[in-house]
């Protein structure tokens, strides 16, 4: 990247209202460290109380979701194999957004799309009810977390969550998944 490109990138980030951005390898320790940096940034921006908690919660659920569903999850005790992920947090007027991105195999797209489209149809009250119901159920067989990540994100959001899949320019079997929550 030459310096002009880097400046364009920096300006795009600024103009989009981004106050925090990370892209790179993720591990639990990296998530924790980014989380600390995010909190300092929120404090510096005077974002407190439930808003700060919602932003932090959304960030943690999104990042842990990427780790849990990583194509090549870190082998236990071996931190060398890490998953790539992207996250941006910013403000748009009075509200905040948290966006994350990661890549996955084409075969996961339809199941994930179904899950997220379903959540998008729910009202906040329905999200809370489904959250409560799922919390008291056994997790789905394909779930490595509590299976509550997306519902937690949706519950803390003030608008329906948004998502998209973009095909990789070079490898058609790879899809880039993006998820956005507005808080």
């Amino acid at each position: 990247m030459n310096l002009d490109d880097f400046d364009r990138f920096r300006r795009l980030v600024n103009d989009s209202g981004v106050i925090f951005y990370y892209t790179g390898y993720l591990s639990h320790n990296i998530i924790g460290a980014i989380g600390d940096a995010l909190r300092s940034k929120l404090e510096a921006e005077d974002i407190k109380g439930p808003t700060a908690r919602r932003i932090f919660s959304t960030f943690i659920e999104m990042m842990q979701n990427i780790l849990n569903y990583a194509e090549n999850p870190a082998i236990e005790g071996d931190k060398a194999i890490l998953q790539m992920g992207t996250v941006a947090i910013g403000n748009a007027g009075e509200r905040f957004f948290v966006v994350c991105g990661n890549s996955m195999g084409e075969e996961h797209v339809s199941r994930l799309r179904g899950k997220l489209e379903h959540i998008r149809t729910l009202s906040l009250e329905e999200i809370k009810q489904e959250y409560k119901r799922r919390l008291r159920e056994e997790p789905e067989p394909d779930s490595k977390g509590a299976g509550l990540g997306f519902l937690t994100v949706a519950r803390d959001a003030s608008e329906p969550i948004e998502f998209d899949f973009h095909a990789d320019a070079r490898n058609q079997d790879i899809q880039h998944f993006f998820l956005k929550a507005t808080i």
Binding site: H28, G32, G35, D36, G49, P50, R53, R54, F56, S57, I60, E61, Q64, K128, K132, L135, R136, P139, G145, A146, L148, G149, L151, T152, R155, D156
Partner: protein
């Protein structure tokens, strides 16, 4: 009698202060560990041993959690289930500490009170 259990808080783990000898159990801080089942497994096991041996006690539980992620929430529910069972033979008071501005934490406590009716639910605004 099972020995008391104390775990110092970490960035992603709460302070665990289970004074079984005084029938006082406290969880304080934040909880979003990498593997919630692994972290809470031994804690719940110790609690189970304590509760199995305890009758007619006045047990006080202080829950002062600022942030809990979804997998911790799932496991905390099994903890409340155990306490609710134990409340048949003991008096179990749940002090649920919450930030009055934070509806989610407040509602979660209220839901617990609704589901685990044997617990004496005491919401405490911070």
């Amino acid at each position: 009698m099972i020995p008391d259990l104390y775990l110092a808080p970490e960035r992603d783990k709460p302070e665990v202060d289970f004074k079984f000898s005084r029938h006082h159990l406290s969880l304080k801080g934040e909880t979003y560990p990498e593997n919630a089942a692994q972290f809470y497994g031994p804690i719940l096991a110790a609690l189970r041993v304590y509760l199995n041996d305890t009758r007619g006690a006045h047990i006080t539980v202080d829950m002062d959690l600022i942030y809990f992620n979804s997998s911790s929430t799932k496991i905390l529910l099994s903890l409340f289930e155990m306490l609710d069972q134990a409340a048949r033979d003991n008096q179990v008071q749940l002090n649920w500490h919450y930030d009055p501005e934070d509806e989610t934490v407040q509602e979660f406590g209220a839901d617990l009170a609704e589901d685990y009716t044997a617990l004496v639910y005491n919401p405490v605004a911070k």
